[in-house]
Symmetry: C2
Subunit: 320 residues, 2 copies
């Protein structure tokens, strides 16, 4: 996706540098775990969205920098806490903090990164930034708890699914787009549009991600197929197929098995494909993309606006 970030590429390097500077602690272990996490990579999507949104208004990197760094730290904090609870030993092909240092250190590393983000946010005078990020953080926790308490349960509705993906993904992307604009002095009407844009884009992004978890080329995906099913996380294609498939009863059974064999995962995915769960979900994602783009219409006509369209279209068609 880096090509979409051409207008902010150099500034993203400054962000990267700043993230690394910010996580330095008097405690060598904390510095080490934080740097490990940072060096494991990541697309820095959220800082990029914030900078791009800023480019629509009065763009000054020094005003956007603390926010961009904070957004990535919040995201990383949530990842490292997910790894604690998910018992993940690798992420993006690298051993997780948890794999190297254990649960305790991972949890405190997440707390630390999150607290560091607050120090950055507290620099802003505009109260919208702190408020939006605080509310987003509350909802992110709600999403995680919901995911745990509904795991392996076939009794779930669309509402449960949307509740989770909003909290897991969409709200922080929405905040990134909105607050980048806020920090660049956008009028309220505009930053609320960018928020809606980010929200709908985030929903589309997560739906696509969830579908790819079932159908993507395993090598491109970098993780075994059907990961969500194995962890008991029910996504759109599953929920759709539990309603529509003639083999819905078998699918419900499979979903609820806690230690699925590879064959059981394969069987569930077959039922889902047959029921049209994949196509259906891609279509819903595309509709969200179209909704997202509509929010862009009344934003200032600067070159970066075109980039937002391109990103939206890319998310609608990405297949890896």
């Amino acid at each position: 996706m880096l090509d979409f970030f051409r207008q902010v590429r150099e500034d993203l390097e400054v962000v990267e540098h700043e993230i690394k500077a910010v996580v330095q602690s008097r405690d060598p272990l904390l510095t080490q775990t934080s740097m490990h996490l940072l060096n494991a990579g990541g697309k820095r999507l959220r800082p990029a969205f914030a900078l791009l949104a800023g480019k629509l208004y009065n763009y000054r990197l020094e005003k956007l920098l603390p926010l961009a760094v904070a957004l990535e730290l919040i995201h990383m904090a949530s990842l490292v806490h997910d790894d604690v609870v998910d018992d993940s030993m690798t992420r993006r092909g690298t051993p997780t903090v948890k794999a190297n240092w254990g649960n305790k250190i991972s949890m405190h590393t997440g707390d630390y990164l999150f607290a560091k983000s607050l120090v950055l946010i507290s620099q802003y005078e505009n109260p919208v930034i702190a408020r939006v990020l605080a509310e987003t953080s509350v909802k992110m926790c709600e999403g995680e708890i919901h995911q745990i308490s509904t795991a392996y349960s076939a009794d779930q509705s669309w509402r449960d699914y949307f509740y989770r993906i909003e909290r897991k993904t969409a709200l922080l992307i929405a905040a990134s787009c909105q607050l980048g604009a806020v920090a660049a002095g956008a009028p309220e009407k505009d930053h609320k549009r960018l928020r809606r844009f980010g929200h709908q884009l985030g929903v589309a992004f997560q739906i696509t991600d969830d579908v790819l978890d079932m159908v993507a080329d395993q090598t491109l995906l970098g993780k075994p197929i059907g990961g969500d099913l194995r962890q008991g996380i029910l996504t759109m294609p599953v929920i759709y197929s539990m309603e529509k498939s003639p083999r819905r009863q078998r699918l419900r059974e499979l979903v609820e098995i806690q230690d699925k064999t590879d064959d059981q995962v394969k069987e569930a995915i077959e039922i889902i494909k047959e029921a049209g769960g994949i196509e259906f979900s891609f279509n819903v994602a595309r509709k969200y993309i179209e909704k997202a783009k509509m929010n862009l219409t009344f934003l200032p006509d600067r070159p970066v606006k075109q980039t937002f369209y391109e990103i939206a279209d890319f998310i609608g068609i990405r297949r890896f």
Copy 2:
């Protein structure tokens, strides 16, 4: 300690009510875990300090309430995360959230309470409040990590000990005293004095706590004696005795044993008592109390000032 809070007793009931209102979530499980934690009790020391500090200035409960609630939520969040890492199954005689719901839920409950505190804090226009609490949170994490990475190591200095207890206890009490004053419109000189008061009081409080962990009546303490030694946490009496005791070599050996028997804990405590580690530590605590009280001299002469002196004296002499 409730008697010291007579000037704010009714308002503390409002705080209590508000804490319970604030943690209500759309997610029934999160509400349940948070309420469990709340109902397990606690002295609400930090809200009390904030309100008392406010009483020295332009006291208005509605201005202090979000802060008071946030301070307790931050404290509770740190407790629930400590239980995750400490493998504690009870706290104050009640099963921990972790004992009832497991590590994953505990971790997210802590994250949730902390995020909720940010929503409250984001209401304040004065940037000092958010900044101080953010910096305090960063340091609290550093303290936890330090405790983990130095556990069972006899190679520790006074500096290590003070580094930890500042972060574990003193800084949040310092913030409570300072920010209560800030929220009530205190001049900077004054709220910095209250901060120092709280800091030194917090240090004294934690030193006393650490000594009592070795010598208090077990029934009054509500937990087995020598808990810190068992967990490999080295406190002032131990560090002192590892320097001064003729049996320092044996003490070092005992300290480093990871699964101490009751007899080994008893033996370590005997060595410490013999070396004068208990008396020495109580004396240091008393000196901090005296230092703390000196900060009160130039504060406004309102009735509540007397209460601060009383609290300080009580912490200096408490033996349970």
